[in-house]
Subunit: 330 residues, 2 copies
């Protein structure tokens, strides 16, 4: 989400949600339907913005489900079903739409949810972009969803999986960087088909104090937790977990610190970033083991505001991207 959109949401749309406590003031990734376990999230994907228009339609369908499933995962909710809205180019062929439906089937079987309803239409003008709107309904954890606003000074900050792969995958797709063939393929996979951390998110309920899925970028999303929780977050650059392809890419760059800054701001990782108090380290470790998920402590929350990316010597690493700049106010 671009910087301007946060502002629009705050100024124009958050007031429209004021009456309904389950909407969390539009400050979280999900809403809960009052007096039920239903947790709902909605993410749009638009050709030319969130995926290249040439992307295989089954892959588009699967990504549309997965980015929404990732929101549920970070909140500890289980998939239940989804509503689908598609606007197809006026000249879309049956085979293209059938491929899209195949992708939905594959992933709704994999993640155990069903199509509940929706709307299908076509653009009036040729060349207008395929637009996919998914409203995903999940069943929340008994302890309540993990909000963005629960982190406290002293909390450990963790992230699942590895960071920056999708950003490098995008560079590969756009021909902006070259990778060894296998690395390029692995990175592109991360961009096209993120893996929502549903099992770990479920295990995190009652353990973590705040959580978010990393879509805007590690530091930007740390910024969302910091801002909503009223804390500062320090991230150790050296601890950010990198895949082998990403580590190889970083090591090949002239400026390793800037390269790490890029990976920490690239976005589309769909990992879970979360805060948990030190006394729950064993519980975090249990969740990690039970769900066989890579989990790395990457920093700490402290009193203050903003997010800092720190080098091994404790100095701040420059990492300039819009989403990060706004929240890194120290």
């Amino acid at each position: 989400m671009a910087e301007g959109e946060f502002d629009l949401i705050r100024r124009l749309f958050a007031p429209l949600a004021a009456r309904e406590p389950g909407a969390f003031g539009l400050e979280d990734d999900v809403a809960v339907l009052l007096d039920t376990d239903f947790v709902v999230t909605k993410d749009l994907l638009v050709a030319g913005v969130h995926f290249p228009d040439t992307e295989r339609r089954d892959v588009v369908a699967r990504k549309a489900l997965r980015v929404n499933l990732s929101d549920l995962a970070a909140k500890g909710a289980k998939p239940f079903g989804y509503f689908l809205g598609c606007v197809w180019p006026s000249d879309a062929q049956y085979a293209e739409i059938a491929a899209f439906a195949d992708g939905l089937k594959k992933d709704q079987d994999a993640f155990r949810c069903a199509l509940l309803g929706g709307d299908t239409t076509r653009h009036g003008a040729a060349g207008a972009p395929l637009t996919v709107s998914v409203t995903m309904v999940g069943l929340g954890p008994r302890d309540g969803v993990l909000r963005r606003n629960g982190a406290k000074p002293g909390d450990d900050i963790y992230v699942t999986g590895t960071i920056g792969d999708a950003g490098l995958g995008l560079m590969a797709a756009q021909g902006e960087a070259r990778f060894p063939t296998e690395d390029g393929g692995a990175l592109l996979d991360r961009l096209q088909l993120p893996s929502p951390r549903l099992a770990f998110g479920g295990a995190l309920a009652g353990v973590g104090r705040a959580a978010i899925d990393v879509s805007d970028g590690l530091l930007a999303d740390a910024g969302h937790i910091a801002e909503m929780s009223g804390v500062a977050i320090d991230v150790d650059a050296a601890r950010i977990p990198l895949s082998s392809p990403a580590a190889r890419w970083r090591d090949a760059q002239d400026d390793a610190a800037a390269a790490t800054g890029f990976l920490a701001t690239a976005g589309d990782d769909y990992e879970i970033l979360f805060a948990a108090p030190p006394e729950r380290r064993r519980a975090v470790e249990m969740a990690r083991q039970v769900t066989k998920t890579q989990v790395t402590k990457i920093g700490v929350a402290r009193s203050g505001r903003g997010v800092r990316l720190l080098s091994e010597t404790g100095s701040e690493v420059a990492a300039s991207r819009a989403g990060y700049d706004h929240f890194g106010e120290n």
Copy 2:
């Protein structure tokens, strides 16, 4: 919805909903969330398809809410809240988005629902159309929602309000027909801001046996009830309720029967078409009086298939439009 889309939904998407009974096989306008009173519907509006790109943005916002509220109304559900997805043209200005938010505020206050969450993004290319996706959540009636599939032979067929105004409004907007100034304004109002029949829909629960909101056109939507209920429906052309402007327009046409056929297939009426058994005529009359809603008996359901539009002499009136043709198989 164009004919091809029904087929796509049946062949490609309905199988994806098979596992979840609350999805009704995608054969109705809403889904219910199991073991709750929540009723959910989702309708998309796209510039250049559902509204002219020059339409005032507050009007677009209000129409987006109202077409979804109309789905709830026909099912006897009360508005609760909505999820909103917007894709703005890349050059959309703040004032434009603020006008849109104003329209939302006006109608969510009028219809008592709140924004619950959503996603806002921008198109990558200039000139791509504003797309608005609303997922509306309502609270269903205790007796269960009125499905499309409950009509029985012998049932009376009724419709609320007047039919064909929005279709004439579209002709006025596109300069395809000329109307006296006042008539043109009234017809255009019906096109831009339909009035969801929430009060009457609520009163109809437990009284009607099948219901649908008229969006595809009176005969096409009668066709949906006929097909899903396994009955035939005869509509008396002379009984179709017309507003004064629409009646004046029809009377000025050379072929009054063809004119009536046009009005009965034009769509976008957002009235409630429903079936009720003759023994509930008093209950229908009560619902009409209590909610001060115009309700007209326009036909009957009988054994058989398809929909016929009958003249006063009982002969069939030709009314050829795609949505109607497909279902009128007699």
